[in-house]
Each structure stands twice: as C-alpha cells, then as structure tokens.
Amino acid sequence: MSDITDLGVASLRDGIRTGKFSAREVADAFIVKVSKGKALNAFIVETPEHALAAAKAADEAIARGEPLKPLSGVPLGMKDLFATKGVQTTAASHILEGFEPVYESTVSQKLWDAGAGMLGKLNMDQFAMGSSNETSYFGNVISPWRRGGGDNAPLAPGGSSGGSSAAIAARLVPGATGTDTGGSIRQPAAFTGISGIKPTYGRCSRYGVVAFASSLDQAGPMARDVRDCAILLENMAGFDPRDSTSLQLPVPKWEEHLSGDLSGKKIGIPAEYLIDGTPTEIAKLWEAGIAWVKDAGAEVVEVSLPHTKYALPAYYIIAPAEASSNLARYDGVRYGLRELAEGQNLQEMYAATRAAGFGDEVKRRILIGTYVLSAGFYDAYYTQAQKVRALIARDFENVFSMCDLLLTPTAPSAAFALGEKSADPIAMYLNDVFTVPSSLAGLPAMSVPGGLDAGGLPLGLQIIGRPLDEQGVLNAGLAIEQRAGFAARPEAWW
C-alpha cells in the first residue's frame, strides 16, 4: 500500500478490521497530513490526542478479540459548529473564541460512540453564514484546488463547510461532518470534487449544533465517495429526545442497501434550473448526468418547479429572521466575549460585545432579520416568505407524483477566487440558487462530483429526493459516481 491517507472511510474501517494496518498507523498518517496542511487553514483546533485515543481503543479491542464498532479507529474532521466537550467550539466567530462546551453535540457523540476519533475542529464561514469561507474570524480557508495554466490565485473551497471540503479534498481527513442550511454541505462538496449529503430535515439531531436558522439547519456527512457518506450518515442520524424537531424513526441501513441500479426509477429534470448565465460546461455536465442515470436504468422526465426563482429571496428573509433570534443569546453574560468599558451600563455592554464579536456578514444578516421581523414589516416580509416557502414545498410535492428523484447541477459555477465575490452580497448569495429550494422544503439532497471544467476545477451534480428517501438519493449518487469516473485530485502545493 502506498499511502493510508489515500483511503476513504470504508477502506480504513475494513483495513483496520482485517489487520491490514493498525488504527494507530491510520491515526498517525492523518495527524501528519493535518500538521503539514496548515497553509490550507482548514482547522481552527487540531486534536491529535482525540484521534489517538480512538485508535488505541480500536487496537486494544482487536488485541482482545472484541467486536469492533462501526467506525472503530476511523479519524474524522468535525466542523466547528458542533459542540465538543472540553474542545474549543467557536462557529468560527470571535464572540465564541475560547468557549469550551461542557457538553457534546448528539451528532459528534454518536460518531465517538461508533468508535471514530477527531483530528480537529474545522474552519467554516462564521456562524455558517457564507458560501466561500471568507467570513471566518480565523481567516479564509484556501481550496487545495488551483486553476490550470499556472494560475495560482487562491480559490474558495465553498461554504459554509469549507474547512470540511478542503480537508477532505486535500486528504487531511477521510471524512468530516458538515451542516447545511441553504447549501453549506453541497456547494463546498461541488467546489472541491467530493460528495456530501444533507439528509431530510429532522434526521440528524440539532442538539449541540450552534444554531443559525433552526427550521433549515441539518447536519450531514462529507466524504470522498457515496459509500463513505452512507456509512457516516448512518452513524450521525437517529432520534434524539433533546431536539424537538428530531424525527422518531429508525435509521435505515443505507450502506447495505446501496445500489447503482436505477431500473424502475423516474428522474425529473426541472426546467427552471436552467438559468441565464449558467456556464455551458455546467449545462453539458447536466446532460452527461442525464445520460448516466438513463444508462443506470432510470427513465428521465421533464418537470417544472414554477416557484424556483423565489426560493433565494424567501430564504434571505427566513434565514436572517431566524438568525437574528437565535444569535440574540450572544450577550456577553453567559459565555464568550464580553466588552465592557468603564462606566458602561448593561445595554451598552450588550451592544459593544455584539459589535466587537460578530463579523460583517453576521451583522448584516442580523440587521436584515431584525428589520423583516420588526413591527409593521412582519407580514409583508416574513409571513409572505413563509407562504412562498409553502408554495415551493408544494412544487416539490407535485413533481414527486411524477418522478422519484430530481437531477440538477449543484452550483451555478465552479469555484471562484477568494475576494472575487466578497464585495457583492447578492452575487455571493446566488451561489446557493440550486441548493436553497430543497433546503426550504426539508428534502434530502446530495452533491457528487461529475467532472472538471476547462480550468481543471471540479463541478458537481445534485440529486434531490422525497422526504426520508436518502436511499434513493444515495443510489442515484452512486450510479452517477460509477459512470462519471471522477478521479481527479488537487496536486499538493501546501
């Protein structure tokens, strides 16, 4: 074997199980990669001791002949949105700098209970607000990818789970957690040539996940292939009494039932996702995707989701409204930063703390959210947006009487250069044009890599499924993966 870090989650799990290598060797190999990958700025905190402890437990279990757990000895990256006991959790913000939770998020606890270890806390857009990882208080994450032809401009790894996507693409971790509010798993996965799935809203517990927009936030896995995503999701999902919106349903055996045979499946192609200004390469990749799912046995039908163009503006009312409420908790009293000048009163302390602790994009969204919820504007903005959201969900319900799954591009462009869109918030928001509608409807959706553009950068395809049909989504993802033959990887410059 050449290099352990070339292996994904399934191969590592199986290799440890069969004694091909020890869990300690696996942990050591990734710890070295993480320590050499600092130029990517993918980690806020490195936790080699956590990964080594999980490896030790796995190796000891093997030595004693005990049965292994589903992820024994597999080291992972943890997005810094998940509360990890005793390990700094900041949501990439200044206001939570130094915050060490006294409890563990349900999703991370499930992964540790399954035997996985943690390589570190992954950088991200501040409070998960961003599509390029340029809003982190701890600096931009740099994508491991570069455009061809000697263009060394640093590129965005996507966002908000940009530390996760960069670390996986650069082989610093075999898999990682992400969270997706409007596309924050799928768009970074597309930008970096990896896979990621946002499950149905309610599949993964939100307990201990720093809240952004609670009616949209969902955790999900990111990894190098579809099987690895299925394995990780099985060990992240499940009912949690601590989350009032958690679905009280058993976790299906997604890995066991993976199949790239799409016979009998109908896949819808929504006309509204062909938007003006989409690069021809993305339209061509979409065509290729259609051919691949047909080759896998699916029937392809054209469908219409008429309210698609209103999804983004509705999202940019609903998400900031929920954020303005959720982020009210950062007040300089219970945790995190406190700014208090001599002689200031309580109200001045709140305002000074929040001014110093939040970044520009976070403030912008809190202000938008506060405005649309304020007296006199609530109905015109917030109520109208929730009505449009109901229409968007109804669009999906209607098409799912005609087809089982939808196939679309994941993002309207390949990765852009850092700084290229940061001056224009709306241009940045448009990155999520294809991912936001399924978020608003709570549907499972995944991105898989499909190919490269002319500049040598990855492009992704998105599959959207009915509520609870993660299996259908994963299977279509697998069918595409088997046919796309995506093997490109960034050349190490870091």
């Binding site: 915050f99 060490e100 006294v102 149905t200 809203y201 309610g202 009616s215 949209l216 009494p241 009032s244 919106t245 679905l247 009280q248 309210h307 209103y310 503006p313 509705a314 009312i317 303005s324 009210a328 300089g332 009293v333 219970r334 945790y335 406190r338 208090l340 009163n345 309580l346 001045e348 302390m349 709140y350 305002a351 000074a352 929040r354 001014a355 939040f358 912008r364 809190i366 202000l367 938008i368 506060t370 405005y371 304020s374 015109a380 903005y381 109520t383 109208q384 947006a385 929730q386 009505k387 449009v388 959201r389 109901a390 229409l391 109804r394 918030p425 709306i426 409807a441 709570g442 509520p467």
Partner: protein, 95 residues
C-alpha cells in the same frame, strides 16, 4: 421601501449592535440593495396558501415534567465572562 441611516441605527439598536455613524452610512445602501432584491416576493400570489410552520410533518412531543439534568451550576457558569457567588454578574441595573 428605502432604508435610511436613521432606520439602520434604529434596527441596530433593536438588535443590540453598536454601530458608528460611518457604519450606518455604509450599511444603508447595502441593506437597501438586499431588501430591494427580496421584495420580488411581493409578485407571488399567496392568497390561497397558509404560511409554512413545519417543513416535515412532526408532532411536538411532551415529556414528564421532571428535572432531567439539574444540579449543574458550576458547569453552567464555567464559560461565563464574569461569575460571582454562583451567579452570572452584569453591570448594575437597579439603582
């Protein structure tokens, strides 16, 4: 609908975020740009639809009204910027 600097200051005050006059000047056109873009929602006929309340049908569960994770005062206070005698402390609010 246009947001002026006075409105920006009012909203920032509601959101408890201190902003300078220069911040308000900068933010007014930024917020107007975003609000102008989201106002296209007004075009949609929503007369026949109720606002969404739950994205996936679910029931709100009730649990027994008992203490489940009590007696953790020190853990709760551990990350407080300032705590004294087992309480969070803030600047004086009552004269």
């Amino acid at each position: 609908m246009s947001v002026d600097t006075a409105t920006v200051k009012k909203v920032a005050s509601l959101a408890r975020i201190a902003i300078s006059d220069a911040d308000a000047e900068r933010l007014a056109p930024e917020l107007n740009n975003i609000l102008g873009w989201i106002e296209q929602l007004g075009e949609v006929d929503t007369s026949s639809v109720e606002p969404m309340t739950a994205v996936i049908p679910n029931v709100l569960r009730l649990r027994e009204d008992v203490v489940t994770e009590g007696n953790q005062r020190d853990a709760v206070l551990r990350n407080a910027p300032q705590g004294e005698h087992g309480f969070f402390t803030v600047p004086k609010v009552v004269e």
